[in-house]
Each structure stands twice: as structure tokens, then as C-alpha cells.
């Protein structure tokens, strides 16, 4: 699979929001401030795989997800899918190949339209089937996502959360995409419904050979769904690799605290590690050096100055941490390094 060109390739993706300047800022001639929601991310996703994107609230997960499918303008960098560049104004036949499933299942549906209207519109717009077969197609889609056809003429408001999310999934599937970005797609659902929707997503992925980008803060769900996982911290990938390896033996101190903070319902589970210390720094006022140094328990002098550590390959995965500099090639990478790092 690695020999094949990746379906999605992102290089140096930056999404920056300019903050409004207050009168005080203008008078004191302070420069305009910007918030970097995504601060330079490279990633590639192989066809047919599922990549999990995890991280705390506000780490830029959702913005990244939208940027990858052209729902968010990039400030720098580029994203291509099938070798074609993604942009917010690409033609509709390019849009088809990438769809999104949203966090709020109700907010993702136009409340005035019935299920049938919601599902038939993309089919008509893209002329997926001849006009006389649209109704059959809608029925097929509903059956595929497990929606009874008697819900066809109901509006979003009269469906349950799970049913609403199934409509959202069916709508995404209606244009036969290759890539689906699922942004916290089960976070708003009851736990019992979560499992149903996840199983549906897994079955559809296997059946249709979909490529999945699964954004979630629920590590258990990511572990169940994803082949690879990328851990985001303040708009940067701090660790990336096969899910089992990253979760089984986390390298980056942030991944470790993130995993330790997640409750594990097993009697033989190891005792929980120290919880994350404090809040992440404000993205408008980033610390020098490594973005994680203000909370990192293993931070050394090298972490507190200079540029942020780059994401460096480390075996089958990649880590952005001075403690895991492969150039140093030290076996016990968990120990603090007393000397500064040459960059």
C-alpha cells in the first residue's frame, strides 16, 4: 500500500485568523495579531486507510479537517487529493470526491427539508443517476445507512440524533466520495447510538473502500476505527504513526499525558499517569521553543528557546520532540537531555 501514491497529500498547511485590532492597539501602533489555528502541517493519507486526528479542544482539529477538503481557505501550504489541488472554489465535480460528516447532526441538516429532499438534491445537482431513478437512489441510500424508508418525508427536527447522523452520512455518500472527513461525528450522540453509528461507518468503509479522516477527542473510538493516528497540539502534529504503536508506546510527552488522562475500564490497566498540567497557552501568545514546554514535565533548556522542534521520522512514525532526536540516537529517549539541540 505504501508504494501507491497517497490519496491525500498536505504540505505546510497553515490556517491563520487575523484578530480584530482594538483602538488601543491602533493607537499604540501594535502590529496586527493573528491566531494560527493550524501551524504548518504535513500529512499524507493512503487510499483506503483511516487516519485519526486527536487532541484537546482548540488544538485545530476541526479547522484542519475543513482545510483538507477545501471548506477553509489556507493561509499557506497546499493540499491535493488524487494529485489535484484542493481549494475553496474548485468545480463541483472535484468537490464530489471529498465529503464531511459533522459533529452536530441536527445543525448539519437544513431544518426545512425532508430527508428525501436532503438526499435527492446532491444526486440531482451532480446528475449521479438519470432523473427518473433519483427516488430509487434515495431509497438505496437510506437502506444503506439503516434508515427506514417511512422516514423519507420527515424533516430533520422530527428525527432522533442517531437518525439525523445517518441522514448526514447518507448525504455524504450520495455523491460517491473517496474521502470522508468525520469531525467528532459521534460526540453528540448517546453512547449506545455512538456504537451503532461507528459500526455503520466501519462497515461502509470496508464495503466502499472509503478513505477516512476521523477527528475525535475520544481516544478509545480512534483506536477502534483508525489505522494511523496524528496527535495535534496547538495546530501542530506532535506525533504521528500506526495507532497501535502510538497508543501502545507513546513517545511524545503530550501523547503520554493525553493517553494517561483517558480513563481505561480494565482491571489490569496500569495506574493512571499524571494528568496534563494547566491549560494550553493561548494560540495568540505562543511561548518560545517547543509549544508544549509550558506544560511538559520533561522539558529541558533546549525546549525553552529557539524554534519549535520539527516533526522528525522515528521508525515507522514521526515525533516532534527534542527528547526524540534520531540524530542523537540515544536508546533511552525518555530521559531529559542536558545539552542544547543543534537545529
Amino acid at each position: 500500500m505504501s508504494a501507491e501514491a497517497p490519496l491525500l497529500q498536505a504540505r505546510g498547511v497553515v490556517v491563520r485568523y487575523d484578530l480584530p485590532r482594538s483602538l488601543g492597539d491602533l493607537l499604540s501602533r501594535r502590529p496586527a495579531r493573528a491566531l494560527q489555528a493550524v501551524a504548518g502541517i504535513d500529512m499524507s493519507v493512503a487510499r483506503g486507510t483511516a487516519l485519526g486526528i486527536v487532541g484537546e479542544s482548540g488544538c485545530g482539529k476541526s479547522t484542519l479537517g475543513r482545510a483538507l477538503i477545501g471548506l477553509q481557505d489556507l493561509s499557506a501550504g497546499d493540499v491535493s487529493i488524487n494529485g489535484l489541488r484542493v481549494s475553496s472554489n474548485m468545480p463541483k465535480d472535484r468537490r464530489r470526491s471529498m465529503q464531511m460528516i459533522f459533529q452536530d447532526p441536527y445543525g448539519a441538516l437544513n431544518p426545512l427539508l425532508t430527508v428525501a429532499q436532503t438526499l435527492s438534491e446532491p444526486i440531482r445537482v451532480h446528475r449521479i443517476v438519470p432523473p427518473d431513478q433519483v427516488d430509487d437512489r434515495v431509497a438505496d441510500l437510506m437502506a444503506r445507512v439503516g434508515l427506514p424508508t417511512d422516514l423519507m418525508h420527515r424533516r430533520a427536527g422530527s428525527l432522533s440524533g442517531g437518525q439525523q447522523q445517518r441522514v448526514g452520512i447518507a448525504r455524504a455518500l450520495s455523491v460517491e466520495p473517496e474521502l470522508i472527513v468525520a469531525d467528532e461525528c459521534v460526540a453528540a450522540l448517546d453512547v449506545s447510538i455512538q456504537a451503532q453509528v461507528l459500526n455503520l461507518l466501519l462497515a461502509l468503509r470496508a464495503e466502499l473502500g472509503l478513505t477516512l479522516i476521523f477527528i475525535s477527542h475520544d481516544l478509545g473510538v480512534v483506536r477502534q476505527v483508525c489505522d494511523r493516528v496524528a496527535v495535534l497540539y496547538l495546530g501542530r502534529v506532535v506525533e504521528e504513526g500506526p495507532t497501535d504503536e502510538v497508543f501502545g508506546d507513546p513517545h511524545h510527552p503530550y501523547t503520554r499525558t493525553l493517553l494517561a488522562a483517558a480513563p481505561v475500564m480494565r482491571p489490569d490497566a496500569p495506574p493512571p499517569g499524571p494528568p496534563p498540567v494547566g491549560e494550553p497557552p493561548s494560540p495568540t501568545d505562543m511561548p518560545p521553543g517547543c509549544p508544549y514546554q509550558t506544560r511538559c514535565l520533561q522539558a529541558v533548556d533546549a525546549c525553552r528557546s529557539g524554534p519549535a522542534p520539527p516533526l522528525r521520522p522515528f521508525g515507522p512514525r514521526a515525533v516532534a520532540c527534542h527528547l526524540h532526536d534520531p540524530a542523537a540516537a540515544r536508546p533511552d529517549a525518555g530521559q531529559p537531555r542536558p545539552t542544547e539541540v543543534t537545529t
Binding site: G70, K92, R95, F102, G107, A108, N110, P122, H126, L159
Partner: protein, 274 residues
């Protein structure tokens, strides 16, 4: 609750408002049939006839039957109200939706024009334009179009600003829908409810403004039967023939009441907070 919401019942205000409004529409449409006398027929034998047989609401200083004139006047007043609201509604909703969705320079220019129009008292501006254009119903509609759109533009723009960032709009974009499709099919229908509610209460204001302007001599011209004009004509006879002013006034109040109730009921039904 959003999920599994029961079918919404019609609020009593909506039912009452609809009943009164539709009753007036029916009376206006059937004026030719049910009015006992032609509205402009002078009867010199029955000048200033008090209410009673055969003139149930009396006659005016030309012996014209007040009831018949009120029924025929309902046509003019309803037309004034409906057309006078429809034109600004269409203009305002369109401009407000475009400004809110696209933002930027279009929005900035439109909002400044809006501020300027809002800076003048509504009725004074309306009369100034009518005086420039010359009296008549056509001038009244043109003036309303120039002045009235601002309220609708502001209401719709505010809603569109919220709805354009809804997930279903993002979904529409990712599905490759055209901007026009997203704006007219997905954003506007969800943004228009407050404007519809306002339109109902605006009908009242427009009818009253039309009557006021006719009363002042700039609107509908005599001898057309129009309520404001009838009140104006009856003014000099207020002590000898109170019915000439009282009954058109009551008619005006009843029509206004109907549309007010309709506005309140619709607001409740559509879940719009005023």
C-alpha cells in the same frame, strides 16, 4: 426539544388574525355584490342621513352611503397595504440576503445607505418623496419602495449572518452546490421568518400611512372611496354627522387589529422573538 418535536398547533392569535384578515379580503372582493348602494352615487334626498334604514351607517355630505363606501374602500386600503409591503419586502429581503451572505464592500455600502435612510423619520421622508413625485397611489408605492426596504434588509441580513456559518451551509458547499442554490434554497428560507412576521405588522403601518397621506391630500384622490380620505372629508361635519368619521375609523382599527394578530400569531408559530 428539537428531536421528535410534535406538530405545532396554530396559536389563537394566528387563528383570530387570519379570520379577521380573510373576512376583510372577502368583504373587499364582494363589495360590488354586498354593498347596498354604488359608492359614488350622490343622493341629494339623503344628505347627512343618520345611521338607520336604508343607510345602515348613514350618508355623507353628498348623500353617499357610508357602508358602501367603507366596503369599496377596503379594496383600496388592502391593495395599499399588500402592494405597499410586497415591493419593499422583495427589495429588502434580496438586498439583505446578498449583503449578509457576501459581506465585504457590498455589505458596507448597503449598511451605510441603510443608516442614512433610517436617520430620517419614516413618515416625513415618505411624504417628502410623494410631494416631489406628485400625489397619487403610484407615488405612494414608489416612495414606500425607496423607504420601506431598510427594515427588511436589516432583519434578513442579521439572520443570514448567523445562518451562513451553519453546518448545513458548509455541507452544501462541500457537495458542490452553487452559491445561488445555497443562498436561495438553504440560507434564505431559514432566514426569512422574522421578515415575514414584520411584514404583517408593516401592513398595518402602511395602511395607516396611506390613510394619513390621503387625509393630507397627497395619496388617493377624491372621489375614490378610501378610509383615510373619508375620515378627512368627514372632519368638518364631526359635530353634525359623527358617523362620517367614526365608521371608517372603526374599519381601519379592525383591519389593523387583524394584521397585528396575524403578526403576533405568526411570530409565535414560527418561533420568532421580536
Amino acid at each position: 426539544m428539537r428531536a421528535g418535536a410534535p406538530r405545532r398547533r396554530w396559536p389563537p392569535a394566528l387563528k383570530a388574525g387570519l379570520a379577521i384578515t380573510l373576512a376583510w379580503v372577502a368583504l373587499a372582493l364582494l363589495a360590488d355584490v354586498i354593498a347596498p348602494f354604488p359608492p359614488n352615487d350622490h343622493n341629494m334626498q339623503a344628505i347627512l342621513h343618520p345611521p338607520g334604514r336604508p343607510h345602515w351607517l348613514g350618508t355623507d355630505n353628498f348623500g353617499r352611503d357610508v357602508l358602501s363606501r367603507i366596503l369599496h374602500g377596503a379594496r383600496v386600503d388592502l391593495l395599499m397595504g399588500v402592494v405597499g409591503v410586497l415591493i419593499p419586502f422583495v427589495i429588502g429581503v434580496t438586498l439583505g440576503a446578498v449583503a449578509g451572505y457576501f459581506g465585504g464592500i457590498v455589505d458596507a455600502i448597503l449598511m451605510r445607505i441603510l443608516d442614512v435612510v433610517l436617520a430620517f423619520p419614516w413618515l416625513v421622508l415618505l411624504m417628502a418623496i410623494i410631494v416631489v413625485l406628485g400625489p397619487g397611489l403610484k407615488s405612494f408605492f414608489i416612495a414606500l419602495a425607496l423607504v420601506g426596504w431598510v427594515s427588511y434588509a436589516r432583519l434578513v441580513r442579521a439572520q443570514v449572518l448567523v445562518i451562513r456559518s451553519a453546518d448545513y451551509v458548509a455541507a452544501g458547499r462541500s457537495l458542490g452546490y452553487s452559491t445561488g442554490r445555497i443562498l436561495w434554497r438553504h440560507v434564505l428560507p431559514n432566514a426569512i421568518a422574522p421578515a415575514i412576521v414584520f411584514a404583517m405588522s408593516d401592513v398595518v403601518l402602511v395602511i395607516l400611512a396611506g390613510s394619513a397621506i390621503s387625509y393630507l391630500g397627497f395619496g388617493v384622490q377624491p372621489p375614490t372611496a378610501e378610509w383615510g380620505l373619508m375620515i378627512s372629508e368627514g372632519q368638518s361635519f364631526i359635530f353634525t354627522a359623527w358617523w362620517m368619521t367614526t365608521f371608517p375609523g372603526i374599519a381601519l382599527v379592525l383591519l389593523a387589529l387583524g394584521f397585528s394578530l396575524l403578526a403576533d400569531g405568526l411570530a409565535e408559530y414560527l418561533g420568532v422573538r421580536e
